[in-house]
Amino acid sequence: MADTTEVPPREEKIGLMARALSWFDSRLGLSYQLLRPAPQYSINPFYWLGALATVAFVIQAVTGGIMMLYYVPDPTQAYTTTQYIFRNVSYGTFLETIHLYTAYAMIMLAFMHLMRGYFVSVHKKPRELMWVTGMVMGFVTLGFGFTGYLLPWTIVSKSATDVGIGMMGALPQPMASFLTFLVVGSGSDAGELLRFYDLHVFVLPAVLLVLLVVKMYMLEAHGVSEPTSGLGSLSQKKRKLIPIFPDVSFYLVELAALFGSAVILVSVIFPLSLPPEYSAAIAGQYVSQPDWYFLWIYQILKVSAFEQAGLPVALTAVTLIFAALVILPFIDRGKVRNIRERIVYITLGAIFVAEVAVLAVWGYLTPGEAIPDETAALVLGGTALLVTLCSLVAYKLVFGGLRRLARGKSTNDGLASKPPMGATPASPRAAAAWIAGMFVGLLVAGAFFTGNSIADVVALGLGASTALPSLAISLTGLALVVVGTMFLIYRLDLATGSIRRRVRVFELGWKG
């Protein structure tokens, strides 16, 4: 007979540390699940671009805080104290370089976060206010760049900032008056530098932190956005919820560490050097050029039509672009989030990204040069046309052809599609990745050769005969891109069986 007497549980010996932890845990709720768990599919760098931008902000706060110990925001001492950091402070150049490059990374990550959000429709109900908050945070980030650029008081930074301040006057009212009052003040150099410093180290960080808390709160309320194709398209494993700590937190630690090491590596390869000090006497010898993130706006303003009297028109147009982005959730109110069904918005977004990139690179290559109207129309129009064509073809191939490939049957004629003889059946996902990669490559090459061809034609038109060999190479490259695109279309048709089906349909019709 079995002994049924219950044995009282033996009291486990708990160490002092464990008891202390338990005491704090029961009072502070350390082990409680404070943050909403995230789905497994969010373990993807594209879901955490905003978090990486925050990491960049933290690195800037730390490096900037150290630099504040030495920097004096006065026109007579700003340059010398910056120079002191470079020359005399331990790892001073490294600090300055990291501070600048993380600022660049923060702006780039914020832009990528914005465009990724746009393409996957995170601005739709119920995340409209998250989008607006994120846009304001983006403006604050640009404000960091603008205000921080002046602080070293170099010839480059002061001249570029003066150009920027001059442009503020041409902005639509009351924005022009407000911004000019905010950054210029009495108009003296000392007042201007002090205002920029205060904005850079006190006002903007405080505003950003408040907005960050607001956005985190909304993220907690709504959670991570679903994939555009819906949760139904994901496996059970991908849909599973995982805790923020340790799973998501460890993943973010990995991303942050990789990001940090990448920035460090870049700063070692391209260390910063301090340009000469600003002096009104030599300011005229330098071509004023804003930093790269404002170059696209600067390039628009260099178009002949927008000079002098046309400046307010151009700045109003740029302001309208930003305003449209802010109120996007209230313009694009449809429920459809699937990229496949949003060809217009996706194409518009792609055109915007391409135009910004083209204008920035163009601005970098042509400092201080006025852009003739016809050249601007050719390049900007050509870019928009090329992106539109590529978008249409990509939609046709990726969402038209591959859908049939995934289903394994025809959607329009009922004839089964089989892979060609000898072909290894590829998974739809692998095929989609391959085609997308090929198209991105062709798009980049096509944009490059088209831009080059247009520039060479313009140069030839202006009488530069040396552009002829370059034009020949560009046209050859363009022809290769066209042939490559046609080959890709042919291969895809071969894989999906469209050509064979069409021939079969034609034969049936002819016999009938």
Binding site: Y91, V253, I264, V268
Partner: protein, 96 residues
């Protein structure tokens, strides 16, 4: 995944993590001992800081991958080790 394979992965991950901890400890030692005013010391400092960060990222990845999926991506490990090796060689070159 079979239990035997999981055990093998866990054992292997333990060895790799031990090695990474050694690398991280060595790089921290270098960070503290490098002469802050010497020529090229900034780059050496920066590169060993990057080594430390990569080691931390790899340890975190291994822990997450083993506890969640029971396996580690060989490609990720090789890439990480290659990157660490590249940074260490670069830093030693600067010191030399």
């Amino acid at each position: 995944m079979s239990e035997r394979n999981t055990v093998v992965t866990e054992r292997m991950s333990l060895r790799i993590v031990s090695l990474l901890l050694l690398v991280a400890a060595f790089s921290v030692f270098v960070l503290w001992s490098v002469n802050p005013v010497g020529s090229g010391s900034e780059s050496t400092f920066a590169l060993f800081l990057a080594v430390d960060l990569i080691a931390v990222a790899m340890i975190s990845y291994i822990d997450r991958a083993v506890s969640r999926e029971g396996r580690i991506s060989r490609a990720a490990l090789i890439a990480g080790c290659f990157f660490i090796g590249f940074l260490v060689v670069g830093a030693l070159y600067l010191v030399g």
